[in-house]
Symmetry: C2
Subunit: 343 residues, 2 copies
Amino acid sequence: MTEEVRLAHGSGGKETQGLLNEVILSLLGEDMKKVKGGVGTDELDDGAAIPIPGGYAVITVDSYTVKPYFFPGGDIGELAASGTINDLLMMGAKPLAIVDSIVVEEGFPLEDLRRITGSMVETLKRVGVKLVGGDLKVIPKGGLDGIVITTAGLGFAERIIVDSNLRPGDKIIVSGTVGDHGAAILAAQEGLEVEGGIESDVAPLHDLMMPLIEEYGPAIHAAQDPTRGGLAQALNEWASKTGYLITVEEDKIPVREKVRAFTEMLGVDPLTLACEGRAVLGVSGDNAEDVLGVVRDLGFEEASIIGEVRESERYGGMVVIKAITGGLRILEPPSGVIVPRIC
Amino acid sequence: MTEEVRLAHGSGGKETQGLLNEVILSLLGEDMKKVKGGVGTDELDDGAAIPIPGGYAVITVDSYTVKPYFFPGGDIGELAASGTINDLLMMGAKPLAIVDSIVVEEGFPLEDLRRITGSMVETLKRVGVKLVGGDLKVIPKGGLDGIVITTAGLGFAERIIVDSNLRPGDKIIVSGTVGDHGAAILAAQEGLEVEGGIESDVAPLHDLMMPLIEEYGPAIHAAQDPTRGGLAQALNEWASKTGYLITVEEDKIPVREKVRAFTEMLGVDPLTLACEGRAVLGVSGDNAEDVLGVVRDLGFEEASIIGEVRESERYGGMVVIKAITGGLRILEPPSGVIVPRIC
């Protein structure tokens, strides 16, 4: 059997990392992974940083393939704009501009395309990020199921937030309920009706992150938007990058009741489902309560301190969760495909 | 009948421009099209420019969908790296870093993926451009015919080259034969054997442009890599942006003999076929011979002065070609689909 790309390679987790290592990163050599003094493929953070006078240019790229492209709470256009803006913000950068590339199948309804680009532009307008360039390609009928949008963003940071800077004593804050986006897409793909509906949380996090970066910059040691693989993936990346133990308490993690019920029914852990409008922050212990207060005052009322970072010889590099029932277990990084084309 | 995206919308010419205007540009409003003092979707040059201390950050994005993904003279990986590097160079910028996003179909052979990423990395190494970040998505089987690679690039320019700066008296220089890439893809798609073979010209233009930018920067008024729509599209964009007449002489335009014979057989104009390793330059009349000499000395021996820029009341905004046979005709911007998935 020929070795082939498998769906799990696109999960965003271990398998993705393994494939990228094999086909790209191992070929690069240290001097090709970043611009000197910056952040690049040696760290694989939310974006890359390139030193410029006065700070860093931050650049990031993501392709959006979500299906269905209209889903409860948003669409692929809003997702593409939000995702790229959020990656810049999670690096501590003020988003300045994005460029987009649309690849669409011949025969795609123009009305749908207009709705999609309309939401993308609307999202950018909300946060004042300019659309400065782009590309458009059409694939002959049968060559692509729908549409793929790729957005790259450019931001500027005086100081960058690099996840490897997480430290013992830091508190872990999430800005809102987790798993909403993943659950919404899963329900839509499976054609399952959920009472009251589950809406994606897709949104740009500009109104949350810009004030935090300005007021509490140095206290924010790590920041990530937990997309593919959800909170479980994000925390495991932090633990594994730093070698510290992260402990979280399940009953502190905000999960919508209908998301919990829906995922329980399907046997899926909401902590492994993508969010597209949430931040996970690693905040210095001294400032965590203050930061939480500010976050809530900014309108993110479900924000919560869910855990902390510790040194541990035995559990260093792992995430341990105290279940609602009281028991402790290791929260593994998700593997396999949880939901295909989730983002 | 519902309005649908047509193949011609992806031609890179008038239809593409029309669709982009309708679904994106018209929604933006002037203040959303660029970062103040820079270049953005108001100009639609090879890339966008954002003012930073000491000059401009230049950013560009393109999706590559070429089929077949291995073709005579190159592959989609080399194409993705070269295309983005060239767009930065054509803005007068030194390319610093790229980020890539790969969207691939489940079941895609890993060996092919390795070859593709291998050429991409090799191309970047040749010119010292760092690969600082990326994304990978897998589409379930049947959802994508093969692979799409999107690359975004970041460069730095002290002075940018903006095509609207083209002036009467400027000479037009092409750096080599035109139409090779388009002819190679066309032959491969149609399964046509050409005696001796036609190879794509795909290559990064670093070795050409960096010395020119450094030595002759202010004399280079306009620069473009004539990809979709070829030389005919590039020159028409310049004429239409500036309102000047561009005249070219067909017998000065380098076209490989086998490309000419092959395109004549198919009834296609090689001037409308994509190049992926050529530059078209608008150079101040006083410096044009010197610049041509430098270009040839740099190893681009087929480079040629093919025409000039004039003021004209009657033909302003148009491109007029003096045919080999002696007659004059208007060189129209190409319309319709010349070759699908050409780049």
